[in-house]
Every structure is written in structure tokens, then in C-alpha cells.
Symmetry: C2
Subunit: 159 residues, 2 copies
DNA sequence: GTTCGTGCAAACCGTTTGCACCGAC
DNA sequence: GTCGGTGCAAACGGTTTGCACGAAC
């Protein structure tokens, strides 16, 4: 994890008059050590690999903090539980394509999409600040062959 | 509610070998009597206005049925509870803009968006069948004047 | 008469919270 | 020493489910 992320978090902590704690550092490390999306439960597991005593409640409270300071964003996928995306620091304008068949999520950036979102948003009378687009699609391989590598991953219990 | 909707549901019921019941008719009526989005709880309230004995469990089970046959679609808004959109029968290709400030949801269709979604989806290796786009934006009025009519509605307890 | 649907209440599960203890400052 | 943070377990709220009764066929 880049130290710039730690600095940004420390700055936020300081600005808000909060306290720097070992637990928050552990959860920050767990959240940004890879670019994978994660749920609260998954973040808890990652954090406990670093410090087994990390509590679930502190994970939830730290997620709230990270959302507030804009370092983490919630994204809407299948939605039985909330999913968080740690990649908005590196790619502030990225979008998501979600396969409604196999659940695969692909991140992408697209200049045309950015322009179009801007136009549509203005036309409807809104301000296009936090532009973010989500496309639902169908998995080609799954439809044609009845299986795709991602579904295989899910079946094998990647998690 | 158009009788075409009732026919479509009856057909589905018959095809699957299910039974036509008074409760299912009531919930269908409640769901499609207006074009408003609704939660399960809200649909339950609407249904009880028609038949006060309607049970919550039957509402949930009928929503599942309506999702299966494609008459209802789940849409992702703020997401503390699931929201359903009854308008995909009339406008199969519509998209949603959600204001992250005031929560307002605007439905729109856009030919350019349809083409772009198609291109992006193909480029990423997916099949663009059930195309659907969601844009998050910021409310212009709320940002500039500190208030917007939709926030006023929410405060006054539209619900 | 058989089988599926309904209604109730309990179970579920992700998330939030009250409270006593602990640690940053 | 003070005040905010942590950890536990209980509470919460939307959704699902087990089971006995009732209705569709």
C-alpha cells in the first residue's frame, strides 16, 4: 500500500480531531493492500490476518470514516450486502459493468461515456459532479456455452 | 391498470403450472396501478388498501414471481431496502439518474446512451442484451441554494 | 382428494448500537 | 485525567422460511 494513502487518512483523522489508533491503521492496510472490491465481512477477514483481535464493529465504523473522507466508495452490485471499491483514489472516473448472469464486475474508463453522462445529466437539470455509470450486461460465454470461467470460479468457491 | 398486464401474468402463471389466486391478483393490481417505484413494504401497504388481509410474506413471494417473469425489475437506489420499478413493460430501455444529494430519481431514454452501452459492452467481451445504465449526479438546486423541491418533499414526509 | 398457496411467527443475516473498559492525547 | 475508540453482545430491520390451515384444481 502506498504511503500516500496513509498520509491522506492521517490528515483526515487530524483535521477532524480524531485519534490515530493501531486498529484504524490495520483496517486501512487491509482495505488498500489490493485493488479487489470487498464486503465488510471480507474486510474484517483481511484485517484479522494482520491483527486477529480486530473487531467487526470497528471495521464497520472505520468503513464509515473511509466513505466520509472519500477514500472508499460503495458500489451497487448484486446487493445482498454492501460492496466497497478501493480504486477511486487511483481512477476517480472509472465505471462498472456488471454481468447479471455470472456476477463478474469489470472496471472501465471511457471518454465518450464521460461526455455523454455530462450531457444527459445537464439536460435533466442536474450537476454532473460525481459522475459514475453502471452497465448491466449478459455474459456472452455463459449464454453460448452454458459456462464461463467466472462462474467456474464462483462454483469452486473462490471465496 | 391495463388488462394486457393481467393477461401476461396469467399466461406466466399458467405456463409454470401455478395457481391463479385472489391474493396474486390484488398484489398485481397494487404494483401496476401507478408508475411509481416502490419497496416491498410500500407494495404491502398498497395491496392492503385493496384487501386488508394481504400478508407480507405473500407480497414478498409474489415480487419474486414478477421478477422471474420480467414484469418487474429491481433497481439500485440508495439501497437500504430494495426498490422495484414497474415501468420496464412500457419502456424496456429506460435508464435512471439518481441524485446523490436529494435522492431524486429521474427516468430517461437516450439513443446515444443505448449505442454507447452497446459498444462498451461488446468491447469488454459481453453481450449487450439487458442494457441498463445508472448515472449518479448532484442536485444543482440543492448545491446552489441549499434546498430543492425534492428535499422539501422528503422533509414534509411525502411517504 | 391432492397439491400448492397463504398467513403467521420465528429465524436469518448484514449492520448498528449501548455500555463498560482501554488507550491516545 | 479526560475523552474518544474499541470490543462484546444485544438490538435492529428488511427478507426468508417452517408449518399448519385453506383454497385451486
Amino acid at each position: 500500500m502506498e504511503s500516500e494513502i496513509k498520509k491522506r487518512f492521517d490528515n483526515y483523522i487530524r483535521e477532524k480531531g480524531l485519534r490515530k489508533t493501531a486498529q484504524r491503521d490495520v483496517i486501512l492496510e487491509a482495505a488498500f493492500s489490493s485493488d479487489d472490491h470487498f464486503t465488510a465481512e471480507e474486510l474484517w477477514m483481511k484485517a484479522r490476518k494482520i491483527d486477529p483481535k480486530t473487531s467487526r464493529a470497528t471495521v464497520y465504523r472505520t468503513i464509515t470514516l473511509l466513505l466520509e473522507c472519500g477514500m472508499l466508495r460503495e458500489i451497487d452490485l448484486g446487493r445482498d450486502e454492501r460492496v466497497y471499491d478501493p480504486n477511486f483514489i487511483e481512477s476517480p472516473d472509472h465505471n462498472h459493468l456488471i454481468c447479471i448472469d455470472c456476477g463478474k464486475v469489470v472496471e472501465f474508463e471511457d471518454e465518450n461515456a464521460a461526455v455523454l453522462i455530462d450531457c444527459i445529466t445537464r439536460r435533466l437539470g442536474f450537476r454532473p459532479t460525481s459522475k459514475s455509470m453502471r452497465i448491466e450486461a449478459c455474459c456472452d460465454k455463459l449464454r453460448s456455452s452454458g459456462m464461463c470461467e467466472n462462474l467456474i470460479e464462483l462454483r469452486l468457491g473462490k471465496k
